[in-house]
Symmetry: C2
Amino acid sequence: MAQKPSIPKGTRDFNPDQVAKRNYIFNIIQTQFERFGFQPIETPSFENSETLMGKYGEEGDRLIFKILNSGDFLKKVEEPLYTEKDAVKLTPKISEKALRYDLTVPFARYVVQHQNEIEFPFKRYQMQPVWRADRPQKGRFREFYQCDADVVGSTSLWQEVEFVQLYDAVFTALQLEGVTIKINNRKILSGIAEVIGASDKLIDFTVALDKLDKIGEEKVKEEMLSKGISEAGINKLQPLFELQGDFASQIKQLQDILSASESGKKGIEELQFINTAITEIGLQTASLQLDVTLARGLNYYTGAIFEVAAPKGVKMGSIGGGGRYDDLTGIFGLKNMSGVGISFGLDRIYLVLEELNLFPDAVNKNIKALFINFGDKEALYAMTAIKQLREQNINTELYPDTAKTGKQMKHADKRQIPYVVLVGEQEMANSVFTLKHMASGEQKQLDIQGLIAALS
Amino acid sequence: MAQKPSIPKGTRDFNPDQVAKRNYIFNIIQTQFERFGFQPIETPSFENSETLMGKYGEEGDRLIFKILNSGDFLKKVEEPLYTEKDAVKLTPKISEKALRYDLTVPFARYVVQHQNEIEFPFKRYQMQPVWRADRPQKGRFREFYQCDADVVGSTSLWQEVEFVQLYDAVFTALQLEGVTIKINNRKILSGIAEVIGASDKLIDFTVALDKLDKIGEEKVKEEMLSKGISEAGINKLQPLFELQGDFASQIKQLQDILSASESGKKGIEELQFINTAITEIGLQTASLQLDVTLARGLNYYTGAIFEVAAPKGVKMGSIGGGGRYDDLTGIFGLKNMSGVGISFGLDRIYLVLEELNLFPDAVNKNIKALFINFGDKEALYAMTAIKQLREQNINTELYPDTAKTGKQMKHADKRQIPYVVLVGEQEMANSVFTLKHMASGEQKQLDIQGLIAALS
C-alpha cells in the first residue's frame, strides 16, 4: 500500500507563490542590513548539545529538538542507567547534537570560536531557520525563520539609534507605513523596582507590568501583591500608569519617579540620548515610542529593549524585537563583549503584508511567454528563439508536449503567463512569430527583434 | 568553567566572505532556473520518518539523521522491546521525524500531497540544505546545500534538451567556461547488458563499467568476470571500449553494437534527438559529450543520465548530475508521473570558482564608506548625512565609538572599506565632508550632493 503523504505537525510546505513572497521580504531585509553595514554569517543547523542546553531555561531545554546519535547509539549506554528507563537521563547518552533554537546563542558561539579572525565591533546579520518543539498553533510553527542583526564589541548608544533607523528603513522599504517602535530600558525597570522596594522581585514585578496592555491596571496590581510586593510600593507605581504625552514629556515624568535611583537615572539618560538623536535625524514612516511596561525576556537584556508593533488596525503581536545584552559571549568564556541586536518576525510580517495587500504584483517571477508546441520541427524553431530571448534576460519556455492547442492555452492561463507565442509552418516560412496577449486576446506577428522588444 | 566552543564534525560556519560567495552562486543558479520557467518550492527540514526511510537503500537509511521525540519518549516503549536494547528496533519507537536526506523524495511527497493544486507539467526548483550522517572527509559534509530543478508530468525529450541548455546557461553566467555535459541513457546500458547476455546482472555490469575512467579496461573486465558475466559476453564489449569520434559518429558505432536490442535502439533514438536539437540550437560555453560508461544511481534513472565535469585541468569530481526517472511519485501512490531533473553541486562549484579565481571582486557587498566618529556632536551631524546616503542606496556606517582616529582608520582598513569620511568642527561649520580614499590617501572636501555623487 502506498503511503498517504503528510508532513510533521508544525511544519509547512511553501508553494511557488509563497516562496516568492517570502523571498521578497527576505531580500528587502537583507538589502537594508547591508545598507547599514551588517555582514552575513551562517552557522550549522545543528550544534553540539552542550552549546545549546541550559541557555534558554528549563522550558527551552525541553523545546530543543535533539538528534539521535548515528549507528548503534545504545552500545555505550551503561546498564544501570539504561534500566532506569528515564528519558531525561538517557537523552544525553544517545544524543549529542541538537537543532538550533535561535540565532543568538549560535552567534555568541561563533564570535568566541572565531574571535581571532573577527574585526570588532562586528556587525553581523543572519537569516536562517530555527526549530522549537512548541505545541503548534495558529501562527506558531516548529520550524520558522529568524532574521537577526547584531553588533558585538561596543557599548556605543549610536547602535541603538541605528537599530531604530534600521527598523524604519526596512518597514518603509516594505511599504508598511505607521509601525510603532517601542523602546524601554532594563535600567528603568530596575530603577522602578528599586524605588518601590522590590529590587529582589524584579522578575515578578516586570512580568506583571508587561501584562498591563492585556489585563489592565487592577489585575497587574493584584498580581504584584500576590507576588509579595508591598501595597505601599504598588501605590508608588501610580504615576507610572498615568504617564502621558510625547516621548520627551514622559521622560520628564519618569525623572520625578526615578530621582532616587542611580540605575533609573542612567536608563533615562540612555533613552534621552536615543530619542534626541532620532528626533534630530528623523524617521521615514515609523514612530518611536517610550513604553515603560516593555520587558521581553528580561533575564537577557541589560540596556535598551525594543519591540515593534504593526500599524494601528492590524491585529498582530509584535513583528520585531530586540535589545542590548551586556555579556553576550560570557557563557562561552569571552568576557566584556557587549551585544545589541534586533530581530524581524518573518511569518508575522508576511501575514501583515498579506492582510494589507502590500505584496507587489510582480513578486512572483513568472515567465513572460509560453511557446506553443505544434510538433518537433516547430518546437526546434521555437527553441532557437527561446534561447535568444533568455539571453536577453526574458523568462520564457516551450510547452514540452505536442498537446492540443486548447490544452496548452489553458496551461498558460492557469499559470497566469501573460503571453503565448505561436509558431506554425506559416510563421516558420516567413521567419516570424505570432504573439498573443492572453488577457486581451490581441495578436500580432513579429520578427525575432520585435519579439524581444515586446517581451522585454 | 566556560565551554570551549566548537561545532559538530562535518558541519561548517560560514564567514561573511564565504556567505557572499555562496550567495553569488545561488543567485546565478536561481536566476537561470527562473529564466527557464522553473518555480521555487520549499519543504520542511524534517519529514515524517516513513516518508524517508526505505527510499535510499539500507545504507541511506543508516545515514539519515533521526530526531528524538519530544517529552517522555520512553513512556510508550514496551518493556520487552526496551529490554532487548537493540538500537535499530528502538529507533522507530523513540523517533518519528528525520532530517531531509535529499530534495527529490520530499519533492515527490510534495507533488503527491498537493497534486490537486499543481498545474502539470510542473517545473520546480528547490535550493535547501540536506543532511547525511556520512563519515566527514575533504569536500564531504554532513550538512550541505542541494540546488535541484525538476519537471514532473511529461515524457517530452525537449526537457532533456532544456536541461542541457540550463547547465550551459548557469556555467556561462558563472563564467566557468569549458565544462563538459556528459550524457548517457539507461536504455543504452540495458541494451548492452542484453546484447552480452547479462540482463540479469545489469547493476553489477554498470557498476563495473562506471569505473572505466578510474581503474582502466583490464580491471573492469576482471570485475565483470568475477561477477559472473561470461567471457564471450565481455568480448562483445570490445567495440564499446574503442568508441571514437564525435557524438554523431559514436552513436553510429553504438547502432551496430546494439542492433539486436529494442531497448538499446530506443536509447539511441533518444540520445540522437537530444544531440540533434542541441547541435541545431547551439550551446554558449559548454559541450555535450556521450559517455556510455555513465551510470550514476542507476536504480533510479530510467532514461537520460547527466553528469557535468569541470573544465579540463581542474581536478574535481562531477559538479552536477541528474536524469529521468519514470516513476518519481509511485512510492507515494501517484502512478505514471515521469520526472526528469538536474542538480548543481554548490560546494564543488565554489571550490572550482575559487581555484580559477572566478569570483567577482565586488561579490562581498561591503560598505562604501566608514564615517569617523569624533564625538557625539560630530556623530549626529554624520548620521544625518549617512541617512541621506543610505536613502540613495549607498551602504555606509558610522564607527560607533569615539576612539582614536588611527584606530578607526585601521578598522576601515581591516574591513577593506574603500573610503572614510571625516567630519570635524571645521567641516560642520562649512557644511562639508572630507572624503578620503583609503588606498591612495587622496582627500577632498565635498558637500552632501558631492558626497552622494562620489560614493554612488
